[in-house]
């Protein structure tokens, strides 16, 4: 018990240890939200269809209990024009506490939440974020509100589509035509050589 | 047995037991959702096709174009200098260093903007800066750079300047039939990806 004669030192050490823990627990930041899916899982789920076409949307509009439309544009855009019965949640507010509670509630009631913006692109990233946070009842309205309005009012231009990823041109043909006219060669499908320099991991030596 | 000894032992075991009750620590390599939301709201991640065309023509060494479409689509047509990483493989470890290069702007593109945006979203979670998206994708690229449309006669003079640039770019990228024989030399750009240094700390006893 000889060590305990140095009571003071031990007491100070213990108090400091506890103080550090207490300060740590008081200052630790609680994350606003936690990802439920890893990026890899998210990427795998992208293959599945979590999108709503305008036709489906017009049907869903009828059942406002099971479906809710969320306008992720600014209040200004929302006030100008929004889908019937849509809720306005601007992108910066998506992680607010009340909003998250609302989303939790929707998920609990198995309500399908359809996010929409001016076009699909605007709602895409917010949808990915919410989906990755575990709200797998969220979807995206293809084409956005503009396309939907045109669709409902029969104002769609010919060939207009909500599929943004379909090639609008025959790329190869156009380039082939272009190259036959002049001798530009920059357009040929490039095979880029990428040189990655491998660095050896340095093994640090330590001594005792 | 002194009371103080027992207290110290209990304190040690207790605080060690507290460790087992701590929640799983979020992955450090991933930025928290609120930071990602700020990035999502930032529209500066979109570059126009004209900006990108200009930088390619200027042989800007600090851009790295990533084609996130399928390899077969890439074979058919790709922007000169672009590198193909299909969207489903974008998270593979072998591309990690390609997508995180100091001082090099990584620009994603696809046919539209959606796939590029999804690729951006997945990679941006790593907290990497310099990630961009070509707004409009290849459809916009063809509409503006390869097959530019002449502005109305009443259009402001800037539109004509822009059209002049687009026409010239069109010749450069081989889409135009303007008849000018100003062929650009084929570029084989070599990209040197620098591996991030793993810091190895020295240990001692």
């Amino acid at each position: 018990m000889e060590e305990l004669k140095r009571t003071k030192r031990i007491t100070i050490g213990v108090i400091a240890f506890i103080a550090v823990l207490v300060i740590g627990f008081l200052t630790v930041k609680k994350p606003v939200a936690v990802y439920k899916l890893s990026p890899q899982q998210m990427n795998d789920d992208l293959i599945m269809v979590y999108q709503v076409t305008p036709e489906e949307a017009s049907e869903m509009m009828g059942d406002s209990v099971k479906n809710v439309f969320v306008d992720i544009r600014s209040i200004y855009d929302y006030e100008k024009d929004h889908l019937y019965g849509a809720v306005n949640i601007p992108i910066p507010n998506l992680l607010d506490k009340e909003i998250q509670e609302q989303f939790d509630q929707w998920k609990k009631d198995s309500v399908t939440v359809v996010l929409y913006g001016n076009d699909q692109l605007q709602a895409n990233s917010p949808w990915m974020l919410m989906y990755q946070l575990g709200y797998d009842n969220t979807r995206v309205l293809l084409g956005g509100i503009k396309y939907y309005d045109d669709f409902m009012n029969g104002r769609l231009a010919e060939n207009e589509t909500f599929e943004m990823e379909n090639p609008a041109y025959d790329f190869k043909k156009i380039i082939a035509e272009g190259s036959s006219d002049n001798s530009s060669v920059a357009a040929q499908a490039p095979q880029k050589e990428v040189v990655v320099r491998k660095k050896k991991k340095k093994a640090a030596e330590g001594g005792c | 047995m002194s009371k103080r000894y027992i207290f110290l032992a209990v304190l040690l075991i207790g605080s060690a037991f507290g460790l087992t009750q701590l929640p799983e620590k979020p992955n450090k390599k991933q930025i928290p959702p609120d930071e990602l939301l700020i990035k999502i709201y930032d529209q500066a991640r979109y570059l126009t096709t004209r900006e990108i065309a200009k930088r390619i023509i200027d042989r800007d060494p600090s851009i790295f174009l990533v084609d996130v479409r399928t390899p077969s689509e890439y074979e058919e047509y790709a922007i000169p200098g672009a590198f193909n990483i299909p969207l489903e493989n974008i998270l593979d470890d072998q591309w990690r260093d390609y997508l995180n290069q100091d001082g090099v702007d990584v620009i994603f593109y696809s046919n539209g903007t959606i796939y590029a945006d999804q690729a951006w979203d997945l990679i941006a979670q790593r907290g990497i800066k310099n990630l961009y998206i070509m707004k409009g994708g290849l459809n916009e690229w063809f509409a503006t750079i390869i097959k530019p449309v002449a502005p109305d006669e009443t259009a402001p003079s800037e539109a004509f300047d822009q059209y002049a640039f687009e026409k010239a770019a069109s010749i450069y990228f081989g889409g135009s039939s303007a008849g000018v024989d100003a062929a650009a030399p084929a570029e084989k750009k070599e990209v040197v990806v620098r591996k991030k240094k793993k810091k190895a700390a020295e240990g001692g006893c």
Binding site: E3, F17, V20, L21, G24, F25, T27, V28, K29, A203, A204, G206, C208 | M1, Y5, A9, L12, I13, S15, A16, F17, G18, L19, T20, Q21, L22, K25, K28, K199, A200, A201, E202, G203, C205
Partner: protein, 196 residues
């Protein structure tokens, strides 16, 4: 650089300053615990003094618990801590030699320097012999190089190897440490007191 992240990045230069202070504190605690006396050190093998075990167990335990808590608080990023590669076979053989040397010489390398600092003659002899040993080793190294690299397991931690969580490992370690403290107290009572 470095695992401390609470105040942002710490530059390399400041790392050296911090290392200097940590080294000073280390030496102070060693000396204050009486580790410059070879009889105290050796006591653990004869059962009359377990200060070595207690001090090192306590230090390790406090370090584990502190690191893990601080990692949780976000003050440090222990994923950048360097883990030495594990060489099982050479570690086992080296450990045997080290134990023999410890019990015969009465010092381990760190404490022998501690003894040198306070001017102990046996410390000096031990340290000089230590460097002679290092020199001899470097001369025969080509012959025993296979042994030096035997049983390489790479940079691996025990928690990764057995797939247990760090928290539970720390808890188990704490229980073992307290048990060791208790057992050593019992042994200490049985063994005849040695004046030194």
């Amino acid at each position: 650089m470095g695992p401390l992240t609470y105040f942002g990045e710490i530059s390399t230069e400041w790392n050296y300053v911090i290392a200097l202070f940590i080294g000073m504190a280390f030496g102070y605690i060693m000396e204050a615990s009486g580790f410059s006396s070879s009889r105290k050190l050796i006591g653990v093998f004869y059962g009359y003094d377990f200060a070595v075990i207690r001090v090192f167990f306590t230090a390790t335990l406090v370090a584990i618990i502190g690191l893990l808590y601080m990692g949780y608080f976000g003050w440090i990023d222990y994923s950048v801590l360097f883990v030495h590669p594990t060489f099982v076979a050479s570690a086992a053989i080296g450990g045997v030699i080290m134990g023999l040397g410890f019990i015969m010489g009465g010092f381990c390398p760190g404490t022998s320097l501690c003894a040198v600092a306070i001017g102990k003659l046996d410390g000096w002899v031990f340290t000089i012999a230590l460097f002679v040993g290092i020199f001899l080793y470097s001369q025969v190294f080509p012959w025993i190089e296979p042994l030096y690299n035997a049983g390489d397991m790479g940079h691996i931690k025990i928690t990764e190897y057995f797939g247990i969580s760090q928290g539970w490992f720390a808890f188990g370690f704490a229980v073992v440490a307290v048990a060791v403290f208790f057992i050593t107290t019992l042994i200490r009572r049985k063994v005849k007191d040695v004046r030194y």
